[in-house]
Each structure stands twice: as C-alpha cells, then as structure tokens.
C-alpha cells in the first residue's frame, strides 16, 4: 500500500510486549470508505478497529483495567470462553447485481455466530446465556435465538482469526431474519467505541439519516489475531455499512456530500485514534471526467480488495490542514457525466419459493458464476426451520440444464420443535453459468400457541449462505501489514490467486396453514361430544339387555290403583 506515513502515528512495539501492555495496551483505528455506485447511490462503510494485547482466556489473569476495549464485551468474552464472536444487524437487502460486493456482507435481520474455546464443556448452556447477555447489550431481541433456530455448520463458517480448530461442535450459528434494526440498536453500538459518538468519524452517525437509507448494517466482529505473530491480541472491529438512495434523499441532483448524507460534517479526529482516515473510491474516475471531488487532496492510495485493484483519494483526519479554515471537513462529490456499465460481480445468488397452496412448496436457490472461463466450487449452507419439512430425496442440482452432483453433502434433518434442518453442499459451478438447487418441502400445522401474533404475515426462513474462494483478476496480498486500510484486511487471505467471498440470499417468507384461533373451547367440546357419542352407544349396548317393552300405566290409572290399594279393593289391570 503506497502511502506516506502520517505524522503522529502511534505504533505498538511488538518486541517489548510486556512493557507495551503496561504503557500502550492497544490501539484504535477508524476509517470511512465512500464508494459511489453506478446507479447514482452512494455506499459509505465505517470501520473501527480496537486492538488489545491481552489474553482474556489466560488462567489466573483477571482483566480489570479496560482502556480502549469496551468492558461489557471483555467481560462477555471471558465469562463465556468465547474465541470468536460475529454479530450483525441489518435492515434491507444488499443488491449485489446493482451495487457490487460489499466489504463485509451481512444477511437481513440479525445474525450471530460464535466459536467457543475448546475448554467449554456445555456449549449449549453458554450459547443460551451469551445470546441473552448480548440481547441486553445491544437492546435487540436476541433472546429469540434458541435451539430451534441454531445450527452447527460443519464447513461454512471457519474461524476468521487465529487458531486452526476444526471441531464444529464449538461453533454456533443463528439468524433472526425478522429482526428490525433501529436507533435503539445503534445507540449501544456507538457506546462501544472509545470516543463514543462525540469525536472522530462517529459524529456522522446520526440515526435520522442513517435509517433513511436503502441498506443499513451494523456489526461487531471480535477475534484473536497475531501481531506480527509474536503475541496474541484481541481485535474488535465495528463496522457500519450504509447505502444512501439518490432519489429518496431529495433534490434529485446527482450530488453527494457528507452533510447531505449524514447531516453533519467532521470537525476533528478521535484523539484516542492512532489513525483516522476517509477514503473515496475514484477508480472509475481517473481523469475526473465522471465526478468532481472537493476538497482536493494530494494523497492517493491503492489497495487490492475483492479481487480488484482500486484507487482511493485519502483524507487524513489526524492532520489539521484537512479541516481547512472553517475547522470543518465536508466532502463533496458532484457528478458530471453518466457512468458506464458496471462490472458484473463474479458470484451472485438468489432464492425464492415456488409452488402454490399451503400444503407443499419448493425452495429454489439460483447461483450465478459470471467468470468467463474459470469454474470454482462454492459451499452452500441452508438452514430451514423445522416446520417446513424438507425432503432430501427431491434435492436436484442442475447447471446448464444438466445434473450437477455435489461432491460433499452434510445434511442434518430437523427434529420437531428441537432443531432446524441444516444442509451444506459443495457445488462446482461451471464457468459463465447458472446453477439451480431445488428441494421440496411440506408445511406443518403448528399448535395454536406456536404462531406469532400475526400468523398470516408468514414465517421467515433465514438467508442461505454461499461461501466461495473466487478466482481473482489481480494478485492478492497474503501478508498483513499494519498500515493496510481496514477494509482490505478483514478477511485473511491465504493464497494470491483467489479471495474469499460470502454471499447471502434473500430470506424467504412462507405462509403456513393456520387453525382457527378463536375456537379452542369449541373444538374441545365438539370432539369430546363425538367421542362421547361413541362411548355412550357402546355403553348402552354393553350394559343393557333387550326386554319386551311393557308400557307403564298412565298416571291416572296409577293414582286410582293407589287409592284402591288403600281401600283394599281389587286393582285395575
């Protein structure tokens, strides 16, 4: 990464780790990447990285002094022996075909996946408590995560940090597609930052503008990393991705500015940050013919991200001259011409439900490989709730209208009311093709208490996850350097010729047949009546015998006989 080192950069000293821990127990970096999209929308991605050189899981060392790292998360990590934690809250669906690939993908709703340490004996118990604690920290209803929507993927979610554990018994993955993200979730998320929302890039995060967007996703990723591989450190990355829509922001003019996007401008960098930068993607605008960027900056950077070499204009907020005379930094992009066609992303997936009626259906997942000549394998993971009974013998995978047999299938069928279906498949995608995966299911009738208050809205099925190592046009960097921008260093790169991509499909909304909710008492009465009719008939036939019917004399005759008996006179017949 060609970049002149800014003044005042605090660097951690890897060799004197003990001293470093005492004097500088970590560092904090913040950055904002602005990428104009072809449709005229604009994609802003915030990343905040807190590094902390300590080991939560070391025996006997009780961590009590928190500086940059938030105490709530530190306590969570040590109490539940968490090795990696990834949680994201997303509102909206990322449109890969129009916007390209995001830096850090996330599915609609809430997603949580955690790798526990292998010393944990009761992973399910820890998972349950962890979800409840996180639910409190983020003010989200993560307590709805229980064993009925948790799965243990065997291959799709390998650890992103240190460690080579492969025992997926210590991995738990759950999504809540129905979860809605709002200000209530943003506020505790902002509180985890060292500067809060008072200084640095976080002042831009005002909810009235952030939620008035096409896509909003906030995430927390915690993992252990190695600092020049001599010491272990904990890395906390908080990311916020937002896509602003050109037309709903009003005015209609193709022009974006920090003030228009966030209704704020930047005044200073976070004093606790070792680096604070704003990157603007100008790869499509080399000569300035597409849009005009102001204020101008001499700093330029290049990075290889998502298999492509991109050029960025860099604004260093730790330098006072970035803010100019007015002590305020407002970036302005004014469009001059129309942009050409966007490069199609190499991997793209869609999912939908086919069929009619409330009895059966079919889930279709379509995966597109847009590479002109390279085939590559993808890992498809599907987690379907138990009330949609999948029939795995109806699974068909076709590419270019021919059968394509997956080389690895891991299927765990659902147990009613205990765990969902988990289907993981390794599919080889032929070049420049569309692969369709279909599986039939049957819809179950649930007990009336198991329906949500609005049962006719339908039930959500979480997004499928397609993970792949996509062949890269440009050689990727395999070694980590400290001054690499955060957006290019999130996913560890193992080889130069491919990069890791995860694509989430749409969540599905499926209707289930409903009983009549006003009828419990009536149903009990009617069914018991029919059973009682049966019982009554059999009881009569079993306990009574046939007799000739001698009709009893009418009342008048009986009275007369009574009187006659008293008189001692012969009775009437």
């Amino acid at each position: 990464f060609r970049f002149p080192s800014p003044i005042g950069h605090i660097s951690t000293c890897p060799s004197l780790i003990g001293q470093c821990c005492k004097t500088h127990p970590g560092s904090f970096q913040e950055e904002l990447v602005i990428r104009p999209l072809h449709s005229g929308d604009i994609y802003a991605s915030f990343q905040f990285r807190t590094l902390w050189d300590t080991d939560f899981l070391q025996e006997g060392q009780k961590v009590s002094h928190y500086r940059l790292f938030p105490k709530s998360l530190g306590q969570v990590l040590s109490k539940f022996s968490v090795r990696e934690l990834h949680i994201s809250f997303t509102q909206g669906f990322w449109r890969t075909m129009q916007w390209g690939q995001p830096f850090i993908p996330s599915p609609p709703g809430a997603e949580l996946w955690v790798w526990f340490h292998d010393t944990v004996s009761d992973v399910d118990g820890n998972w349950k408590e962890l979800t409840n604690v996180l639910s409190g920290i983020f003010c989200a209803s993560l307590n709805f995560i229980d064993l009925t929507n948790t799965v243990q993927p065997s291959a799709s979610f390998k650890p992103l940090g240190l460690g080579n554990a492969t025992d997926h018994r210590f991995l738990r993955y759950a999504t809540l597609p129905r979860e809605i993200v709002c200000t209530e979730n943003l506020t505790p998320w902002k509180k985890l930052l060292p500067c809060g929302s008072k200084a640095g890039l976080a002042v831009l995060m005002k909810s009235e503008k952030l939620f008035h967007s096409s896509f909003h996703s906030q995430a927390v990723h915690i993992r252990p990393i190695c600092q020049q591989c001599s010491s272990k450190a904990w890395e906390l990355r908080q990311t916020l991705n937002v896509v602003f829509d050109l037309h709903t922001s009003g005015q209609g003019k193709k022009e974006w500015s920090l003030f228009k996007m966030f209704s704020r401008t930047l005044t200073e960098a976070c004093p606790l940050a070792s680096s604070s930068k704003v990157y603007v993607d100008i790869t499509d605008n080399p000569e300035g013919e597409l849009f005009e960027l102001s204020p101008a900056t001499p700093l330029l950077g290049q990075a290889v991200v998502l298999g492509d070499r991109r050029t960025y204009s860099v604004y260093d907020l730790s330098r006072a001259e970035t803010f100019g005379q007015l002590r305020s930094f407002n970036l302005l992009l004014r469009w001059k011409g129309d942009s050409g066609d966007m490069l199609r992303p190499l991997l793209h997936a869609e999912r939908y439900v086919a069929g009619f009626g409330l009895q059966t259906g079919e889930i279709h997942t379509v995966i597109y490989n847009n590479h002109p000549y390279r085939a590559f394998p993808v890992l498809l993971m599907d987690s379907v709730p138990w009330y949609l009974q999948l029939y795995i013998h109806t699974l068909t995978v076709t590419s270019k209208s021919r059968d394509n047999k997956p080389s690895y299938i891991h299927y765990q069928p659902a147990k009613d009311r205990h765990r969902p279906h988990l289907l993981e498949m390794l599919i080889q995608l032929p070049p420049h093709s569309m692969t369709e995966v279909t599986v039939q299911f049957e819809r179950a009738l649930l007990k009336w208490t198991e329906y949500t208050p609005d049962p006719n809205h339908g039930f959500y099925v979480g997004s499928s996850v397609v993970s792949a190592l996509v062949p890269s046009m440009v050689a990727m960097r395999t070694n980590f350097t400290q001054d690499q921008p955060l957006f290019s260093s999130f996913v560890p790169v193992k080889e130069e010729s491919s990069y890791f991509v995860r694509v989430y499909t749409e969540p599905l909304l499926v209707n289930l047949p409903t009983p009549d909710f006003s009828m419990p008492y009536n149903v009990i009465c009617l069914t018991c009546t029919v059973v009682a009719v049966g019982y009554g008939s059999f009881y009569n036939l079993l306990t009574r015998t046939f007799q000739v019917d001698e009709p009893s004399p009418p009342l008048s005759k009986r009275l007369a006989n009574l009187i006659r008996r008293m008189r001692g006179v012969p009775l009437l017949t």
Binding site: H393, Q412, P413, P520, L541, F546
Partner: protein, 435 residues
C-alpha cells in the same frame, strides 16, 4: 366360485395398474386422507435416501416406519407397486378364505343349538343357510378389492396396505387354529402399529372356544392356555424388536415410531379426531388429553370381550373398527379393512336401524373431504373449521355404523334364544328396547 373370483381379481389389477400409470397417482399420494405421517410412501423414500446419505432415518422427524420396513423396501423399492398390489390381494384372499372355515363351524353350532332347544322354534328364518352363505367370500373380496378407499390407498403406496395384509393373515391363522402362527403375526401387527394389541383378547377367546376350554378365571386350564398364547405372542414381539435393534444398532426407532404414535406431535390434518383437537389444546392439558384419547382405544377391549365372549369373530370386527376410528393417525385404508367384513354380517340387515343415514353420511363426507381441503389450502376461501367439521361427521358416521351393527348382532342373538315374534303379556306384538 372360482370364475367370478378370477374375474374380480383381473378387474382389480386392471384398475390399479391403470391408476398407477396415470397422473392421478402423484395426486393421490399427496392426499392427506389417504396417507398419514406414519405410512406415507414419500417418507419411506425419504428414509431410504437418508440412509444412503449416511444419516440415521430416525434422527429427523420425517420417517416413522419400523426398521423391518426399511429391510423390506431396501430391496423392493423399485418394485413397490407390485408389493402393494400383492399385499392387497393377500387381504382379500385371506378374508375370503376365512369365510368357508367359519361357515362349517357355524353350521355345526346352529345344528347343535337347534337340537338342544337353546334356540327357540320360530327363529328358523334367522338361521343362515348354506345357499346364502355361498357368495359371501366373493362379496368380501369384492368389498375389499373394489372399495374406492382400498384402491386409493394402494395407488398411493401407503404402507397401510401392508399393515392390513398382516392383520388379515393373523385373522386367517387364528381361524385356521394355529396358535403359534397367530401369535407371531399378531406380534408383527403390534410391532407395526401398537393398536392391534387389542386383538389379543378376541384371538385368545377364539382359541379357547375352539379347544373347548371354558372361560372361567378359576379354571387352571384357562390360565394354562392363556399363558401359553401370551408367551408365544410376547416372545415373538421381543424377537422382532431385537431384530430391529440389530438393523441400525440403536434403539432410536422406539421413540420415533411408538413415541410418535402415542404422543401425536405431528398435527398434519387427517380424517381422525386427534389433529385439530391437539392443535387447539391448551398446553396445560396436553398430557391429560393425550392419555385420555389413547386409553379410549384400548378401553373397550375388556367390556366387549366379556359381552361377546361366545362370538370372537364379531369381536375381532368390532376391535378393528374401534382401532380404525380412534387411532391417532387414521387413513381411509384402515376404514377399508373393517368395511371388508361387512358382507359377512349381511344377515343382520333386517335389524339395522340407521343404515341409510349412515351410508349417506359416509358417502357425502367422502365427497366433501377433497372439496373442503381444496377450499382451505388452495383457494383460501374456507378455513380449517370446514375440514374439521367433515372430519367430525365422518367419524360420527363410522361410530353409528359400528354401533348399529353391534345392536343388530345382539338383537339377533336375543331373537335366536327368545323367538322372533315376541308378544307382550296381553298378546299384542311387542317392541324390544334396551333396558
């Protein structure tokens, strides 16, 4: 007799073959009245597919067949249609062969009863003559093979047909007098679905009657035979269950099959009474009502056995009917099994009180089931209450049918011993009531 029977068999095969090859087969296999989560063919195929993938079929909640079914279908899954047609033939052939056995015995019984003045003199027209009984086997075969319920069940490849075959074999062996075979087959039937356990009592009573052992709890000969038969039955059951354990090496099939039958977790609509009841049940009472409904099936065995201890064949019919109505996942295949026996009691026709009403109700309900299902699930213009109402009516019709036949049987017995034309004390014609 042979010619009409052969003709009947050919017609039945033709109908089934035509339907197997038509597009209706798919439609029928998906109908909830014909298949249930316990015996759907789709689930058998799913279980075998899971086995191929290396996952135990009982690890999920989709497969509820016994391991011996896996054994059977592992080898014959490609010839499934033939298996089902053959099993349908088993049932009918056996039911029609059992009739001649019963006949001879019955004639002997009638003769002795007449001669010993146990039967009254004027009930001659109630006695059954060989001529009228000649065509009963053919009628039974026809009632089973050409019954639309059976045809639907066979075309859907529901394993209910196989269960029916086992029960029919069991009845055949019982009437033939072979206690060991009868015990083994009863164990197999119980192993398939627990409810045939109640058929132990009528089989026992039949053998006791055959061996002229009086049913007296104080007699040692009674206990001796009962223990013998029970030992054969329980022994075969243990052996079969042990064999199932060795197939997959685990006891997983017990909660998957028997736990499923008793606890009714799957609330897929069917023609029974359980599904909507448990869909609308308050959580607090779930266990209580599950127990009540399951006890309801087994509960009539002892009283019926006491009442019908001299008529074990009719007792078998009653038990099968009660199982078909009150079991947890009934299908039309179960209904067809006891309906096949109805021609055997055709002499009761004059004493049936509600037969017209009952047949109208059953016909109307059978026609309305698919209509209201379509309206609920596909058109969306009706809701579950419509289908539930027809379920109630259908079961009510079945209960009336069975109770009516029971009434007619008891009444005929009464007339046989007390005379057909009864008179009141003053000489006018009497009416019989149950008191």
């Amino acid at each position: 007799m042979a010619a009409p029977l052969t003709l009947l068999l050919i017609v039945a095969v033709t109908i089934r073959a035509v339907l197997f090859r038509s597009s209706l087969a798919e439609l029928i296999s998906a109908r909830v009245e014909v298949v249930s989560p316990l015996n759907a063919w789709k689930r058998v195929v799913e279980g075998l597919a899971l086995l191929d993938l290396g996952v135990s079929p009982y690890s999920g909640d989709v497969f509820h067949e016994t391991p011996l079914m896996i054994y059977l279908f592992h080898f014959t899954v490609d010839y499934a249609e033939i298996v089902f047609i053959v099993s349908a033939y088993f049932v009918d052939c056996l039911s029609c062969f059992l009739k001649p056995l019963d006949r001879a015995k019955m004639f002997r019984k009638q003769k002795y009863a007449l001669e010993s003045d146990r039967y009254s003199a004027d009930c001659l027209e109630l006695l059954r003559s060989p001529k009228e009984m000649f065509y009963i086997p053919l009628k039974v075969a026809m009632f089973y093979l050409l019954n639309p319920f059976t045809i639907l069940s066979c075309v859907a490849k529901s394993t209910c047909g196989l269960n029916n075959a086992i029960i029919a074999l069991f009845i055949f062996c019982t009437l033939k007098g072979s206690a060991l075979l009868s015990g083994i087959l009863l164990a197999l039937a119980t192993y398939q679905s627990i409810y045939p356990l109640t058929l132990f009592a009528p089989a026992l009573l039949f053998f006791l009657q055959r061996l002229y052992i009086p049913v007296n709890l104080r007699r040692s000969s009674f206990w001796f035979f009962t223990l013998q038969y029970a030992f054969m039955y329980v022994g075969s059951l243990v052996v079969i269950t042990g064999l199932s354990f060795f197939l997959l090496g685990s006891w997983d099939f017990i909660p998957s099959v028997y736990g499923f039958i008793f606890s009714v977790p799957d609330l897929t609509p069917n023609i029974g009474l359980f599904w909507y009841f448990f869909a609308e049940m308050f959580e607090h009472f779930r266990l209580f009502f599950s127990c009540v409904f399951q006890i309801n099936v087994f509960f009539y065995t002892i009283p019926l056995s006491i009442k019908l201890k001299e008529h074990p064949v009719f007792l078998i019919f009653m038990q099968i009917a009660i199982i078909s109505i009150f079991k947890s996942y009934p299908t039309v295949g179960d209904v067809a099994l006891y309906m096949a026996f109805l021609p055997a009691w055709s002499h009761l026709y004059r004493f049936l009180r509600n037969i017209f009403l009952v047949s109208c109700v059953l016909l109307a309900c059978s026609a309305l089931f698919p209509v209201l299902w379509h309206l609920w699930i596909y058109a969306g213009s009706a809701n579950s209450n419509f289908y539930y109402a027809i379920t109630l009516l259908f079961n009510f019709g079945q209960i009336l049918l069975v109770a009516d036949y029971f009434y007619a049987y008891l009444r005929r017995e009464h007339h046989l011993t007390h005379g057909l034309y009864l008179k009141k004390k003053d000489g006018t014609e009497a009416t019989l009531v149950l008191k």
